[in-house]
């Protein structure tokens, strides 16, 4: 019906009302992470899901940082691997306070209890 154009005031009001309903429905809808526009993940890590330390994006291990501790902190801060890493923003801001280089002194990482 996109080829139809409203010609009078009543038709224009109907079109505007339908468009508003569509927008409202879109805002309240459940959306996938791949969907555009992409939803904003709120301040926390519970809504996104990514593979864990065991595999890279292709399902192998060759793409992981070697060792994986080299990359652990940027995942901790950005919640890239939220299941495996503590949540910096909400619950565990001090998780890495005693450990400046994860590869070298990961034993000093804090213990997180759910």
């Amino acid at each position: 019906m996109k080829h139809l154009k409203p010609l009078n005031a009543k038709a224009r009001r109907i079109e505007a009302d339908l468009a508003a309903q569509d927008n409202a429905a879109l805002e309240e809808d459940v959306v996938a992470l791949q969907q555009a526009p992409r939803p904003h993940v709120p301040l926390g890590c519970s809504l996104s899901f990514s593979p864990g330390w065991e595999v890279d994006a292709t399902g192998g291990t060759a793409g992981l940082c070697q060792p994986v501790e080299r990359d652990i902190y940027d995942c901790y801060v950005t919640c890239f691997w939220p299941v495996q890493v503590a949540d910096h923003v909400n619950y565990s801001p001090d998780w890495a306070s005693n450990c400046a280089a994860a590869t070298k002194d990961w034993r000093n990482l804090d213990i997180v209890f759910p």
């Binding site: 709120p42 060759a62 793409g63 080299r70 940027d74 801060v77 950005t78 400046a100 070298k104």
Partner: protein, 374 residues
């Protein structure tokens, strides 16, 4: 003999006393300082000749996620994620001039960086606000925001329009300000031209349109190294694009005039799997990037060297690449750095593109990037 011996000893001592300051002065003429964000809450300054960590500046606001040098090179602006903080440092002394956090017990913000206005009073960014109410959290839309660095609070916000929010780029889209401070640019797949007085988008430069650049799917390089100012009014960066007919992917050099809002794109060659941002030497004549071919175990990385006057690729050299890394350059353009996702910096000679050494910082670098300072 005793007198002669004493005399010689005195001369040697005097020579040594003179020689040490001369050597230091000679070294200081070329030495620069690198500034990096490190875990868990510090900025490190690193001597770019020895790799020694000179200062460890602790940030009360937490972990730094962005660094920005003011256009006059006098101040450094860092933002932190832990408490949504902003830290202003003197670029010469690296002393903290101002620092504060925007978060309160019931209100939190999330932003990844921003740009100071020419006066240094205001800081422009794009953020999301989270309010903790009695029974729920509310999450705002993405907002253009102005932070008053004197009042230490957000003074203006305007919601981003849905059409702009939907553009690829997200939180880490680069922001630039025109030299007069009147226009804010946000570099997504389109360039959003924002009037700083109203925080409204007044123009969208669609780089995908043929009449803008002659190529579709033009994407701007991102990250702290993605955009380089050759002078206060012009940005230079690598762009990737596809021609509108057979969709052949190419990369090229783009220049953006911040005052005239004019974009020019010069294609250079076929694109590889991935190209990092551009590092331009201080004289503006040479630039470097890294190109990645292949994936995971078969991934190969190369330095690419460009002559910016002829826009030609003049040299290539493969290097041992990490799974994730960032390209940096020394302030004099003599060294290239590979860093990120680790506690060390690998140093390469910019002339030969050969590996030289690795500096151990003793702390993991954050994604704030690196600033090369004089």
């Amino acid at each position: 003999m005793q007198l002669r011996s004493r005399l010689l000893k005195s001369i040697h001592t005097l020579s040594a006393l003179i020689a040490v300051p001369l050597a230091l002065a000679s070294g200081a003429a070329h030495a620069g300082t690198l500034l990096l964000g490190t875990y868990p809450d510090k900025l490190f300054t690193v001597d770019d000749t020895s790799g020694a960590v000179k200062d460890k500046v602790k940030l009360d606001a937490g972990l730094p996620v962005s660094l920005r040098l003011s256009d006059d090179h006098k101040k450094i602006y860092a933002t932190t994620i832990t408490t949504s903080g902003i830290v202003v440092l003197d670029a010469d002394t690296r002393k903290i001039l101002n620092q504060f956090s925007l978060n309160t017990p019931t209100v939190r913000y999330r932003f990844m960086g921003g740009v100071p206005d020419p006066s240094g009073r205001y800081f422009y960014t794009v953020l999301i606000r989270f309010d903790k109410l009695n029974d729920r959290y509310t999450v705002s839309k993405q907002q253009y925001a102005v932070i008053d660095l004197m009042q230490k609070k957000i003074v203006r916000t305007v919601d981003m329009e849905a059409q702009d929010d939907a553009l690829p780029g997200g939180f880490r889209a680069s922001l630039m300000l025109s030299p007069d401070g009147k226009t804010l640019y946000m570099f997504k797949s389109k360039v959003l031209v924002i009037d700083t007085a109203s925080l409204k988008v007044v123009d969208r430069i669609d780089l995908q349109k043929a009449d803008a650049a002659g190529y579709e799917d033009v994407a701007l390089g991102g990250g702290v190294e993605g955009l380089q100012l050759t002078h206060p009014n012009e940005l230079v960066s690598l762009f990737t694009a596809a021609d509108p007919y057979v969709h052949n992917k190419i990369f090229g050099l783009g220049r953006f005039d911040l005052t005239a809002r004019k974009f020019t794109f010069t294609p250079i060659g076929p694109i590889t799997n991935q190209i990092s941002g551009l590092e331009v030497t201080p004289d503006g004549k040479t630039a470097y990037t890294t190109a990645t071919n292949g994936l995971t175990g078969s991934k190969r990385c190369e330095f690419w060297k460009f002559d910016l006057t002829s826009l030609k690729l003049t040299d290539k050299q493969e290097f041992h690449c990490r799974s994730r890394y960032t390209l940096g350059m020394s302030q004099d353009g003599a060294k290239l750095y590979i860093y990120g996702a680790s506690y060390d910096i690998e140093v390469y000679d910019a002339g030969t593109l050969k590996y030289e050494k690795t500096w151990d910082l003793g702390a993991d670098a954050t994604m704030a990037g690196m600033l090369a300072l004089h």
